[in-house]
């Protein structure tokens, strides 16, 4: 991705939308100088409590901030811009990252750049994979969206009408006693079975709905249905729905690239299905590398760098967080 400034710039970014507190330093050639994370893990069987997660972020913040600079071998003085995740996410968690970033911006007299977390997932994926103009499937705990870029914004072709696929996995995981995020454990269990149990398949045009699968899977679990087969079937149905809506967007837009990003992108079975979809339509398939699929500072630092290069920054006194900041509300000035 080209930067619109002549000189090379360095951006420091802070991610704190949900369970992850992470800081990262990135250069304008896309090189990740550091990406330090600390992830809050709730007790098994329960989800992320915003209060507890934000408390975790406050506790680990000084160490993570410091470590991100040490690993990058830079001081904050050498950074050109400070980026923070301004939404969407959990209010108390967002405010931790925002407060720290504001303080640093004031103290070091640096421009402050608000970043939309969802766009962060997409931008980091495009720089790491080289995708140019893809249909994006963004799947995580916070998002399940099919989007493509057009006329200055990411346009949403389809999305979930209720739960995200990450929530489906986490909430089912919670029911069976795992701690969140539980996608990986469900994927491992799913590999041990190939017995398909019918679960509700709900595609409404370009949109999906996962609440029926969750209710059904929970009920079957309590009736004593075999857990491995349930995990297998839950993945099969939920991912087939995602594959279908991705295929619909691909056929409709006739684009030639598919990009998978977000925490659930790490799932091999979902990747397999999307590879088939892409092949059928002669499109190239890209997936974000596993180590950057989950929430991380790099997605914020990189998007912050692009935004700053396009002249975007915000006064500290106007730097609000927005818990429900949709990606299609953001004017993306750095893309053609």
């Amino acid at each position: 991705m080209k930067s619109k400034l002549d000189k090379e710039i360095v951006c420091w970014g802070c991610e704190s939308t949900a369970h992850t507190f992470s800081c990262s330093v990135l250069k304008s050639d896309g090189k990740i100088l550091s990406d330090v994370r600390s992830i809050y893990t709730p007790p098994p069987g329960s989800g992320i409590h915003p209060r507890d997660a934000s408390r975790h972020h406050i506790e680990v913040a000084p160490k993570v901030v410091k470590q991100s600079l040490i690993q990058a071998k830079l001081s904050m003085n050498e950074v050109d811009a400070i980026a923070f995740s301004a939404g969407p996410g959990l209010g108390p968690c967002l405010r931790v990252g925002a407060t720290i970033s504001r303080a640093l911006a004031l103290y070091y007299n640096k421009p402050l750049v608000p970043v939309n977390h969802a766009i962060g997932h997409i931008e980091l994926a495009t720089i790491l994979t080289g995708a140019k103009d893809p249909i994006v499937l963004l799947v995580s705990g916070g998002h399940t969206i099919i989007t493509a870029f057009s006329l200055g914004r990411w346009r949403v072709f389809g999305e979930t009408l209720d739960l995200t696929v990450g929530q489906l996995l986490d909430q089912f995981g919670r029911e069976i006693g795992f701690s969140s995020p539980s996608g990986q454990k469900i994927e491992e269990l799913a590999k041990k079975s190939s017995k398909y149990i019918s679960l509700p398949y709900t595609v409404k045009g370009n949109d999906v709905s996962f609440s029926g699968i969750l209710t059904s899977a929970k009920k079957l679990f309590h009736k004593g249905e075999d857990l491995e087969s349930l995990c297998f079937s839950l993945q099969e149905v939920a991912f087939a729905m995602l594959a279908e809506v991705t295929e619909r967007a691909l056929a409709f837009t006739e684009k030639k690239e598919v990009l998978l990003t977000g925490g659930v992108a790490a799932n091999k079975r979902l990747q397999e299905m999307l590879i088939e979809v892409s092949n059928r339509h002669g499109a190239n398939f890209f997936v974000i590398p596993k180590e950057y699929s989950g929430d991380c500072g790099a997605q914020i630092a990189w998007t912050g760098l692009l935004a700053y290069s396009a002249g975007i920054s915000v006064d500290v006194e106007k730097s609000f967080v927005n818990q429900s900041w949709r990606l299609d509300e953001v004017d993306v000035k750095w893309r053609d």
Binding site: R155, G158, F252, E276
Partner: protein
């Protein structure tokens, strides 16, 4: 001989002949990524729904292709070939009759809904314009419902397609659809529907609260 003319998301569309007439052969081919049982169920169900609702829509006063033949097990439908342009292309080409067509789209949707038919897949690639007449296609996701919620979801999808694929005309086009709809359904119904659409949007992730 059949000739592949379109590879859709769900089905391959061939142009061929049926007893001497030009005809469309629509085949929902198996999707290997889906569990065979689930795949068969989806393909069978949608093929049957498509045939049933092409006919029901016609009864409701909306033009659709005639169904000549269906083979549910192979998930194949043979239907009338309609030589037309998709609304999607008409909008992209910035034709001057876009908004008039959108009003007609609204009227047709209202006629379907008045007969409890939910199309389930209202996108601009599923309306053909032939000799200035609007023809609805692709009823694979259609179903019967009397619920306001289902009708609102139907329109919500249409709105989403306009906002994502036809950004420049989206607001005006959707307004025309709503106006056209109101001509058939009356003001009371359309007000309830618009309210319901907003409610659905608020329920979504990171809702647009306006």
């Amino acid at each position: 001989m059949e000739r592949l003319i379109r590879k859709g998301a769900e089905a391959d569309i061939y142009l061929g002949e049926w007893f001497g007439k030009e005809a469309i052969l629509k085949i929902r081919k198996p999707k290997p990524y889906r569990q065979p049982e689930l795949d068969a169920e989806i393909r069978k169900k949608r093929t049957l729904h498509e045939a049933i609702f092409l006919m029901n829509a016609r009864k409701a006063g909306v033009s659709t292709p005639l169904v000549y033949f269906i083979d549910q097990n192979k998930a194949e439908i043979v239907m009338q070939y309609i030589k037309g342009i998709r609304l999607k292309e008409i909008i992209s080409d910035k034709s001057d009759n876009i908004y008039a067509l959108c009003s007609e789209v609204g009227r047709c949707i209202a006629k379907l809904h008045r007969n409890n038919i939910i199309h389930g897949d209202l996108t601009t690639s599923n309306f053909l314009v032939a000799k200035n007449r609007l023809v609805f296609i692709d009823f694979g996701l259609a179903f019967f419902s009397q619920r306001l919620e289902d009708m609102a979801v139907d329109l919500h999808l249409m709105k989403g397609v306009l906002e994502s694929a036809h950004v420049e005309v989206a607001d005006e086009a959707f307004n025309k659809i709503i106006e056209g709809y109101a001509e058939i359904s009356g003001m009371k119904m359309i007000k309830e529907l618009v309210r319901k659409i907003k409610e659905i949007e608020r329920r979504g992730r990171y809702a647009r609260v306006k």
